[in-house]
């Protein structure tokens, strides 16, 4: 019916947009995985994806790099804004991480802590993301025949908190005396997809996030929301989402939860790893495009049945990896509870989660060799 715009928002780590660095833009592999998934569904394979979905990546990592440029040592970077007790917590956990893994540790923890503790930088992040979204909306709607273009969001990890804040800013109140993007107006998000949602951990509202945010679907008790459909995905062995998992209980049919347990790479938290599973890509396409007319629930089920959790011809190896994933999930649940109040300071918690992600990667590495 209409072309859809899907914003992609990355998580923690180093992310460069096209042309910014020699590295491949972060969104290229994600879009490749989505396009491969598109072609894997027989119902969609004959349709031109570009005619129906336009992916618009939003990069905000440069905001952290702007402030930290020139500081070579990561610990020194952290010293620039972390209170001393919390800094000590992070260093304590760091000492449990092997030397070879420390770059991965710093690469991932810096963004999260900078977002939370870097004074007002989170406001810059929100303003940036909101600006990109608003400009794209205007651009799309001004083109002939695209006035019914719908907008969706796929966010990952730290990006779930960042874009949540951005949408809150965009839709919560007037901007420049204009209510054009305010909740109740012309703009809303059709499909809001969160992969490894950490927005609850980074939420400090008086009310809980399910009831205090406009970034939710309509419910009879809460009224209008900024989102039509909310799809939340978590991997059971992903440490990053273990504490305080996102789980609204009263959002009705407009909220869909997907739990994954597949393994295709050592970093189960990775964006592309989440997108690889047909339950995720299928849910995205079905929600964005228009339900059964494009892709039925049964077709997604068929694709999921053909996608083993572990892709190995060796049944013994498959079983071994599946047992490990289950064991990792249990350990995470035992360690971090299920929705209980946090026992640690946030910096320590983030440090522990990244340490656990590293530990998990190293545990999976020998098993996935050759797969």
């Amino acid at each position: 019916m209409v072309k859809n715009v899907v914003f992609l928002v990355h998580g923690m780590g180093k992310f460069f947009s096209a042309g910014e660095a020699e590295q491949r833009p972060w969104h290229d592999p994600a879009i490749e995985v989505l396009d491969a998934a598109w072609k894997s569904f027989p119902a969609l394979a004959g349709l031109e994806r570009e005619a129906l979905i336009e992916y618009v990546p939003i990069t905000y990592d440069q905001i952290f790099r702007e402030y930290l440029s020139g500081m070579a040592d990561a610990a020194e970077k952290l010293h620039r804004y972390m209170p001393q007790p919390e800094m000590a917590d992070v260093i304590e956990v760091l000492e449990q991480v092997g030397q070879e893994q420390r770059p991965f540790f710093w690469e991932n923890i810096m963004d999260v802590l900078d977002y939370r503790y870097g004074a007002e930088r989170f406001r810059y992040v929100h303003a940036h993301i909101a600006h990109v979204i608003a400009e794209k909306v205007q651009s799309a709607w001004s083109k002939p025949g695209r006035h019914n273009t719908a907008f969706s969001v796929i966010s990952h990890s730290l990006g779930t908190a960042a874009v949540h804040g951005a949408l809150n800013r965009l839709g919560g109140s007037n901007l420049g005396s204009s209510a054009a993007f305010r909740l109740g107006g012309a703009f809303r998000v059709r499909s809001y997809v969160t992969l490894a949602n950490v927005s609850r951990v980074l939420w400090y509202g008086e009310r809980d996030i399910y009831h205090g945010s406009i970034v939710r679907p309509f419910t009879p008790s809460l009224g209008r929301g900024y989102v039509d459909q909310f799809i939340n995905v978590r991997h059971i062995a992903d440490p990053i989402v273990a504490p305080q998992p996102f789980a609204p209980g009263d959002w009705g049919n407009a909220y869909q939860a997907i739990a994954l347990q597949h393994v295709r790479q050592i970093n189960v938290h990775d964006l592309t790893h989440y997108l690889q599973h047909p339950r995720v890509s299928g849910a995205i396409f079905r929600s964005v495009l228009g339900g059964d007319a494009f892709l039925t629930a049964a077709e997604i089920d068929d694709a999921a049945k053909a996608f083993p959790d572990v892709d190995s011809p060796d049944p013994a190896k498959r079983a071994q990896i599946e047992r490990m994933v289950a064991a990792l999930a249990k350990t995470l649940h035992d360690t971090y509870g299920s929705g209980q109040p946090l026992l640690w300071s946030l910096p320590k918690l983030i440090a522990l989660l990244i340490r656990d992600l590293i530990t998990q990667r190293e545990a999976l590495r020998p098993l996935l060799g050759g797969l």
Partner: protein, 373 residues
Amino acid sequence: MRARCSLFLLLAWSLPVHAQSPCTWRNVVRGEFEQTCPLPTAAELLDADSASALALKPADEPSQARVVAALRSLAGKARAEGPWGAAFADRVDQLLQHLNPSQCDKTWELAFSELRAPITPLDTCQCAFEVASDGDPSHACFRFAQPGGAALPACELPRLRVVDLADWPQAARAYVLLDQARAALLALNASCRATAIQRLKSAHQRWHTLATRGYVQYPWELWFSRAISDDYGNYSRCFASDPKCSGEEGLDPETLRPIFLHPGVGLGFPGFGKHDAKVSAQGRLVIMVEAIGLNIYARDFKEYLGASLGVGFQDANFARPRLGAFVHLSRYLQVGYLLGVVSETAGNGTLYLSVDILGWTNRSLGLTEPPAP
């Protein structure tokens, strides 16, 4: 026999290769209009002037007044289509009566005109298209009788109005009228969107300029800033207070930014005190700390002026501090005056010049600033 074959071939050649497929709800959702589900043009449904105005072609320069008039005409046509049209026309009339296209501070509730591919579970209702969304009073599912006489499934979803139409041509008229209205209403509201976008752009530019051209603040300065700032410099307080960092609240960085225990290095030129023998052109290393001060930024954050009080240590002699006052004249240039207060340096005056070492280092080492937004 030969004549029959020729006649057969003639007929086969003249018939279309594929008979036109009947239009189904799936075709509409998939945007397969053209031959399968033909749509009338606006010119076929409306008077020529209204159709022209709603085409929104810049060359035709449709004024807002013309577009508004065309919308009223469109609403009149919709009213004739049945109950759905009457409700739709009422919303259009209400909107146009109470809102001025130049009035941006009120929400234009345009959901009633939005045509959508059905969101689950509306697809189980075989909706050809959905209008508005759950929670909006105009939320509706438009359906039309499917080929083969198959009955449409029951569709009783809460808050949803189901509009069952006799055939595709009726549904197509509804589609075009809603589509035209949507395009026009969005066009009327475009300047309001542009206002919001410009506001976001200017905020974004301010943050970027502060980050790349502002006076660097060390962690304890940021802590000090948070301690004395309003709610929005502080992450947790931002969430706790209404309206929760939305809209304008905390959108821009603060223009008053404290200086607190800020270390620096510069050159001192002695001889400017009342007890000094003569002015010296030989610069001496000075390590200084600005104890307390304030930078005041221009609204665009491209320039700032600041002043502070602090202490300097000429030749890194920490036994003989010199009290000082400093003025920031730009990101890189700082001037000050240091007065000795201890033993033989008492009364000696030093003119102080400094640069923002960190920022200077970044540029001289070619550490590129990220591109402007």
